[in-house]
Assembly symmetry: C2
Homo-oligomer: 307 residues x 2
């Protein structure tokens, strides 16, 4: 196989049509250049140049090879740059997993910010429940997750990116809607209740359990999707606790009612595998930190880091 040095030599000669000038351009002397081109021709089995005493001409084969040679050199010059850019994290691909419901809202702001701060980093998005996210993080199928606690801190690092209130969603005809104050656990005693799935939506399930704090309710359904829960409430099947952002769902027949202030918030975290080597990941982490700080300081919506 021929050498890129030989190709560089040939291209220089083909452009200067003069071994001397070409050698100067390459910062070498003529003899090595002459030999480079000879070797190249020998390697190809093709005469690329027509030499005569006062200069050089390209053969037809030489003219054709020149085109390919230029392409070759351009590729050989650019390839390292793109590799370096990726190694530095300023380019490449990040695969992100996110939970179906309320992470959506956060993703919008994230994508907008990405297109400004990391325009050459491509994002691949996968909707996954938190448990699947964690598995995919360790297996290397995704680089970053947007999910709900808890996380195994021996393997994962995380960053709180969104925090919102938990609210009660209640059919408009329900007696609870007559209360003119934030609700407390006691208010739900004996009420028909739609529970989050303990396997598919463990975080919400546990949160709800904490709020109810032993007050006995009547579980009438166990559901994984927030949207489904709100629809069941609208159908009058019961009452439920959902994140405040669910009130943006345009579903009639329900009322969203606040809970008392000491109710734990619904948190969304960015989470990543500590051993992940994707160079773009630190860039995204830094961007997320900046982004969250910007939102907290500049906006008056401390409940949501990205509003």
């Amino acid at each position: 196989m021929f050498t890129l040095e030989q190709v560089r030599g040939f291209v220089a000669v083909a452009e200067e049509l003069h071994f001397g000038r070409a050698a100067v351009r390459l910062n070498i002397t003529q003899p090595p250049l002459s030999r480079q081109v000879q070797k190249l021709e020998e390697e190809l089995g093709v005469k690329l140049l027509e030499r005569n005493a006062r200069g050089v001409r390209l053969t037809p084969a030489g003219a054709a090879f020149y085109d390919d040679a230029v392409r070759l050199l351009r590729l050989a010059q650019n390839a390292p740059d793109t590799a370096r850019k990726i190694a530095d994290g300023w380019s490449g691909t990040l695969r992100v997993g996110f939970t179906g419901g309320s992470a959506m809202h956060f993703l919008g702001g994230l994508l907008t910010r990405m297109s400004v701060d990391l325009p050459d980093v491509n994002l691949e998005l996968n909707e996954l429940v938190t448990s699947r996210q964690l598995k995919s993080l360790t297996s290397g199928d995704i680089d970053l997750g947007l999910g709900r606690p808890p996380f195994d801190h021996s393997q994962f690092d995380n960053l709180l990116v969104q925090s919102e209130r938990l609210v009660a969603v209640i059919p408009v005809a329900h007696p609870l809607t007559h209360l003119r104050r934030p609700l407390v656990g006691t208010d739900f005693a004996g009420v028909d209740f739609i529970m989050h799935s303990p396997s598919q939506a463990r975080y919400f399930h546990d949160l709800t359990t904490v709020v109810l704090a032993g007050h006995h309710v009547q579980p009438v359904h166990t559901v994984s999707q927030v949207l489904t829960i709100v629809e069941l409430v609208a159908a009058g099947r019961g009452v439920a606790l959902v994140p405040e952002s669910a009130s943006r769902l345009a579903i009639s027949g329900v009322r969203f009612m606040p809970l008392i202030d000491d109710t734990p918030p619904v948190e969304l975290h960015a989470v990543w595998f500590r051993d992940n080597t994707n160079p773009a990941l630190p860039r995204l982490q830094a961007m997320l930190t900046r982004h969250v700080n910007d939102s907290y300081s500049a906006s008056h919506h401390p409940k949501n880091a990205l509003d």
Copy 2:
């Protein structure tokens, strides 16, 4: 600059994900391969591979560089082939000059034959009078001409590709049309005559002069294009001598009449500069020779080598 050998080494490792197997594939031992990849990484300033005791993984930068590396190797492998094909004359470009009028008919057959015998050779066509063809041949602007004798045999080689009869073209109302025999020079004595331009169509001018052989005619026009001549004849301005193929021109008001058998034929030659180095030229010459022979032996139209 890195080496193609290094790239080959890296690609092998990237595909095998194992230095040992990659080395076997490249017919070298592991240590040189290891050093090749190290040098490449050093050259790029980028870690391409993540080594651990039981194997190798690609870094994101390595995965990106792998794509470029494969492109690079493919290009490096194909470029010599195309160059060789051109050097052998089986590919590339031939620039052909041809005289306006009757060479057209020949060109049709030539192009058809080219598409079968030399499908990868591209033809660039230029309409040029013979004198310009010869200049362009020596300057290298064209590789082959289709023109009329004479040629300077010290510089040019040529091949007769088409030979046709000279005929008289006469207005239908002209007294000469009453003759029921081939015409001779004497028949044109004192007749109004349309002459070919001695500069632009010297060959036809000289041929006509030979046929008339001193019988005095009345030159009423001097014209370079055969088509124009026939149109002038149709307009009754005089009589002229043109190649037989001109009878294919659909112009009414004229009669084409044969001349006696010993009239010199109108010849079309392929002509080329002996110093031309285009490797496709010998291929075309060989094809033309075959083609002319085929036509002479297979057809019953000995007057036109390509009918």
